[in-house]
């Protein structure tokens, strides 16, 4: 029994460290630049960000679980996209079938988010990045990627409102200043990894 708890604790610790790694070091949006357009789209359209994050996390995590059983068959990048497209396609249909059971007023809100999050670069990017992990590692990376996306899009959303000020020169207003802002956030994340000055 003790051994079981020991293995459980070890696995939980390992999963937690992979998830933290995915949130801060390999942040899907600020470090890997994946899914920036979807993030800007949900901010611009004022979609329910936590709900989108939840759907994205669900799609990444479930796809990761399915992919983990077949990862060894496709070691090269050549066949990886078609293999992952099949898996994500199944998860996409599964999510839409589940969504069909939800009351209409929620379904209207959820369905466009499923369409937006199914085949975006965050999902396929996470699957490609977590190929080297085992099942638990892939689940942890999927959860971390989704939480990381949510965290990064929250940070972008905070600045987005302020970036619409008239004080910003017209040439920079809108998309250009948002990119520069994301760049500065990305720089902050890079600093978080920790780099010592050589004295």
């Amino acid at each position: 029994m003790n051994e079981f708890f020991h293995i459980l604790r070890e696995t939980a610790m390992r999963m937690a460290s992979i998830a933290v790694f995915a949130i801060f070091v390999q942040n899907i949006l600020l470090t890997r630049a994946l899914d920036t357009s979807a993030s800007l789209f949900i901010i611009r359209k004022q979609y329910n960000r936590p709900l989108f994050g939840l759907i994205l996390t669900g799609i990444i995590t479930i796809s990761s679980v399915l992919a983990s059983f077949f990862n060894d068959l496709f070691t090269s990048y050549q066949w990886a996209p078609i293999f992952y497209v099949c898996i994500v396609g199944i998860v996409y249909i599964l999510f839409l079938l589940i969504c069909a059971k939800v009351p209409h007023k929620y379904r209207v809100q959820i369905t466009p988010m499923i369409h937006l999050s199914a085949f975006n670069s965050a999902v396929l990017g996470s699957l490609l990045l977590s190929r080297s992990y085992d099942l638990w590692g892939q689940i942890a990376f999927g959860l971390g990627a989704g939480i990381g996306f949510l965290f990064a899009s929250y940070l972008i959303d905070i600045g987005y409102e302020r970036l619409r000020s008239d004080k910003i020169p017209p040439a920079f207003r809108g998309f250009p200043i948002t990119l520069i802002y994301i760049g500065i956030l990305s720089l902050a994340f890079y600093g978080l990894i920790g780099h010592e000055l050589s004295i």
Binding site: Y77, G89, G125, L179, I184
Partner: protein, 218 residues
């Protein structure tokens, strides 16, 4: 001169141009990831541009013939699946001739197979056009992507590594390796988008009317 041309043919320009004012990267914010992270040299940029052009043009053209009667979800999955199948020979060719560059761009090469122009915009934009218009739009979008990729790649390689196309440039006495990081990719892209926006604002300004003959004599 270009401004005059723009005002005279504005409707057609807006419909066909995805190189300058409708640039997929700088104007619409699509396919950002490969440019921000992987375009750290001109060679990487050229390889990604070639893959992007081949996969996007072929896929959007072939998926044009998928019956519109099929549900949207099935069409989207089919679009992604066809793009992934086209990716196989493209990857094989690139891997055969430029294995080092393929290794350098990492996951950003397979990710091009499911870029947002193929998965989402093909349904909402391209497939609603007639085939010749769609092909011109795809062609200009590919040139637009390639131009941005090469510009960003050249600046980062020149000032980040002191090289151009893998050859050291002696004039560059110092390098700023931080330019090779994704954060600087975002910032450089932001400045490039600002230049384009400035030019767009200039083009969209109304033309000055020529003064009347009477006034000219005064």
């Amino acid at each position: 001169m270009l401004k005059k041309f723009y005002h005279r043919h504005r409707a057609r320009w807006d419909q066909l141009d995805q190189f300058l004012l409708g640039n997929p990267v700088l104007e619409r914010g699509l396919v950002l990831a490969p440019i921000v992270v992987a375009c750290t040299s001109v060679q990487n940029a050229l390889l990604l541009s070639a893959a992007f052009s081949a996969i996007t043009i072929l896929t959007v053209f072939l998926t044009y013939f998928i019956p519109k009667k099929l549900p949207y979800t099935i069409r989207v999955i089919a679009n992604a699946a066809i793009a992934s199948l086209i990716f196989v020979p493209v990857y094989h060719i690139l891997q055969k001739y430029w294995p080092e560059i393929v290794y350098n761009v990492g996951i950003y090469l397979p990710l091009i197979a499911t870029n947002s122009l193929i998965v989402q915009k093909s349904e909402s934009r391209y497939h609603r056009q007639k085939i010749p218009v769609m092909l011109v739009q795809l062609f200009t979008a590919s040139i637009g992507f390639s131009a941005v990729a090469v510009m960003i790649g050249a600046v980062r390689e020149l000032f980040g590594k002191g090289m151009l196309m893998g050859t050291p440039v002696k004039i560059i006495r110092f390098t700023a390796p931080a330019l090779l990081l994704p954060c600087c990719g975002f910032i450089l892209l932001g400045f490039l988008a600002a230049v384009l926006q400035k030019y767009r604002l200039h083009l969209e300004k109304p033309l000055r009317k020529p003064p009347h003959k009477e006034n000219r004599h005064e």
